[in-house]
Assembly symmetry: C2
Homo-oligomer: 491 residues x 2
């Protein structure tokens, strides 16, 4: 903890990497591209999981578990799907090691070669739809509303902790429906759950919209998404919800008898959020002193640090601290009393700042006399003297205020850095100099999209739901367009 | 649901397989040896997870996540460990597929061969201790008390749903300590958590003890375990807690500076329970009509079935049912009102019986008049007429009673089928005819253990903690022994 972070303004990327390490969230493992999620990072992820899991269950989804391995032939059944995932998948070819007869240690046993290679799941549509085939006969069996919390592997060449890792954790929902309309409604329901979750819990405003065709999930007819702005003005896709049409039903021959006694193909959706959300959380709120956590995700919401000389002072301060702790716990606040005698208060202050604890209480000898404490907010760094009397109520309110303030700050930042681009020059200026989001007209063609990406690295993050119909001309080609879409560089 | 189960007495093994399917718990997947855990089965597993996770956290353990892949060279660093796992592991050799130039579909890209093969974790000691090396410098860094919930893969040739699958879900705890004593105490603490959990939540009595050397975990100095008796008299290992000594610390060079400023090797433990517990749960309590669930693990504790003719009766009964439901929910009981109009009451009764719902309430027209319901217990199949008035309190008590009764029944069964064997003939009779557990003297040698296994298929399940020191002679060799050990056939 002795050394601080690089400044965001000087090297945003290095700042992020160092923050993830210094706040004890995660680290790279010995296995290329795979991360170790450390206890503090995992505690935050667990809080995210708990909230989302409850929201899924409240909307009648159940959890299930499907195998980690996918037979190669399954992956190949949906043409777009295999195209999207074949180039970056871990392939299991053998099921045994043996001692090398020539003394070379333990080697793969060539006699234990699998008849068919297995792919470590990059996503589970194929293995799930091959199973749904057996679970669905009649309209009475529908809908199937299932989700799983799982690890997946995509062999990314350039990885960054949380943002892009070869293995990551996620939830993947896979639903099956009797009608197109019902599947579309499910896709929208989930997008709303994601958006509300990210805004209310991660305190991060998002833009809801739909992907352009070239950014769609491999195998979907439509991909809805939420996009968030990081502090460097780049976009981060925070969740996707796919309307799969009948693509996987067709690939795996999943039919049902409808109410009229006729055979129909099943409609599907899939949707997921991942440990990438940890990256979004870290990047969007934190500062040069460390992590800033919204209270709803902070494993420790309040830390109490005693400032004392000698055992007698320590005893008296501890009595007050423990009383505050128990009152706050009774109100559902998680509180740590940092009574370590091996570190000085200043060191503790820095450590908890680095770890983003929303509220710090310091208690010194003068506070003892006055019946007060020093109350410090992590988000604004404001300090105030507060009375011990009524402190619990004050802190509960303060935590709500912090949650709201963090959201509002991010919302203001997003709004201030989102621009309308009406010409190519304006567009380039927004993307390359202002480092913002650009709302611009686009002629709707994949070629134009590609060219814009090639020239500026900006991609269409989404076609936002809430931008109005509006006559205009494509910023690159000048062709007509009736809606602005959202462009940005992205993680 | 139309067909019943095979009888336990006729074909226990088939009964189990059919029960797992008919109660909608799990099924085999298209991938050899891997299972699909269905929503109802997964809901039970989630309840197990929630209880255990809380117990771990109450004893200061935190959750973490380590990579699914283990470099081949890591697995090899601990000699016994690699010996134990190399013969049954899934090996990733490539990281990409490509389109076959000769039109053979999608094939492994030979150019995407990994420099070093990766093993899909069969357990995570090696990858974790290689990381602990970086996390531990001083005695101040100890202990590390970490756990992860994860999937693991062991390439078993003969698999059975839940009991033995190529992929399974589990938790694996991995702790590091400054002293041998502290590590041993951790091993014992966890064994107690496991034993209490299985007895109090799964309602399954266990025998605590230690494994013989040949049954120890590959890489451990000592393996403690809990063993449970299934209804066919076979044993099922329900959890293990390993004292690793300094074996993994030595393999990965994990040292720390102790309080005296000297370098010491770190001491370790590891421990786990898995989805095997689902197998134990199913096998131990269920009957020829289906699953019997202890209330503490039942996703639905009470089901209400209306018996009616016509809409008017249905409305009136529904009003009573919903009132009962909301009162029970207010007391924390999970209740389903089965108001499906597509099935008759008899069908519903069988279905909920198959799924092991502890309490069934039926409400008919006569009940309406009398202010009563019919109350049926799944465990004893006893029925009684109960007043609607006070029903919620009665059911809360009944659920406790059922939990206790299921445990007591299993305890009595275990005691009645555990015998002391003093001669080889008695031993063989117990194992082969009585189908029970045999407490017998053993000379302590691995050779004798092997011979007994070869002759009878019985293995030493554990050296129980609670059997007294007692002079005797080995049932096979007649050599002296001072303690009886527990023999049984096992899953």
């Amino acid at each position: 903890m002795s050394k601080g972070l690089p400044k965001r303004s000087e090297d945003y990327s290095l700042w992020y990497n160092e923050l993830v390490k210094k706040a004890d969230l995660a680290e790279n493992s010995a296995v290329r591209g795979c991360m170790v999620i450390k206890p503090y990072g995992f505690a935050i992820w667990e809080k995210m999981q708990a909230v989302l899991d409850q929201k899924f269950k409240e909307t009648d989804h159940s959890n299930v578990y499907f195998p980690i391995f996918i037979p190669k032939s399954y992956l190949s059944k949906e043409a777009n799907h295999v195209e999207g995932f074949a180039k970056e998948c871990a392939v299991v070819t053998h099921y045994r090691l043996k001692n090398d007869e020539n003394g070379g240690g333990v080697v793969v046993d060539p006699e234990a070669k699998l008849e068919e290679e297995l792919i470590v799941r990059p996503t589970s549509e194929t293995v799930i739809w091959s199973t749904y085939k057996n679970w669905i006969q009649s309209y009475r069996d529908l809908p199937l509303l299932y989700n799983q919390w799982a690890n997946v592997v995509r062999w990314e060449m350039r990885t960054r902790l949380f943002l892009r890792t070869a293995e990551f954790l996620w939830q993947e929902g896979h639903t099956a429906h009797a009608t197109k309309q019902e599947a579309i409604e499910e896709t929208e329901l989930i997008l709303d759950i994601y958006a509300n979750f990210v805004e209310q819990i991660l305190a991060l405003p998002v833009i809801k919209g739909r992907k352009s065709e070239s950014e769609r999930f491999a195998g979907a007819d439509d991909t809805l998404c939420i996009e968030a702005m990081m502090q460097d003005g780049k976009a981060l896709q925070a969740g996707t919800s796919h309307f799969l049409g009948q693509n996987f039903a067709k690939a795996f021959d999943v039919k049902f008898t409808n109410k009229d006694g006729k055979q129909d193909m099943v409609w599907g959706t899939s949707w997921g959020v991942s440990t990438r959300l940890m990256g979004a959380l870290i990047m969007s709120h934190s500062d040069d002193q460390g992590l800033v956590l919204p209270p709803k995700l902070a494993p420790t919401q309040v830390v109490i640090v005693p400032i004392y000389k000698g055992d007698e002072q320590f005893e008296k301060i501890s009595a007050v601290a423990k009383d505050i702790q128990s009152k706050l716990r009774a109100k559902g606040v998680s509180v740590k009393y940092d009574n370590r005698d091996t570190y000085k208060p200043g060191f503790k202050f820095s450590e908890w700042e680095m770890k983003g604890v929303p509220v710090r209480i310091a208690i010194g000898p003068r506070d003892l006399e006055n019946g007060t404490v020093e109350l410090a907010r992590r988000d604004t760094k404001e300090k105030q003297i507060a009375n011990v009397d009524g402190l619990d109520t004050q802190i509960v309110e303060l935590l709500d205020e912090i949650q709201e303030n963090i959201y509002n700050k991010a919302k203001t930042f997003q709004e201030e850095n989102t621009y309308k681009a009406n010409t190519w020059e304006e567009f380039v200026d927004i993307i390359e100099n202002k480092n913002g989001f650009a709302l611009a007209h686009w002629d709707g063609s994949a070629e134009t999209e590609d060219q814009i990406k090639e020239k500026t690295k900006a991609t269409i993050r989404c076609i936002p739901f809430d931008t109005p119909e509006e006559e205009g001309t494509c910023i690159l080609t000048g062709k007509p367009s009736n809606k602005r879409v959202l462009f940005a560089k992205a993680y």
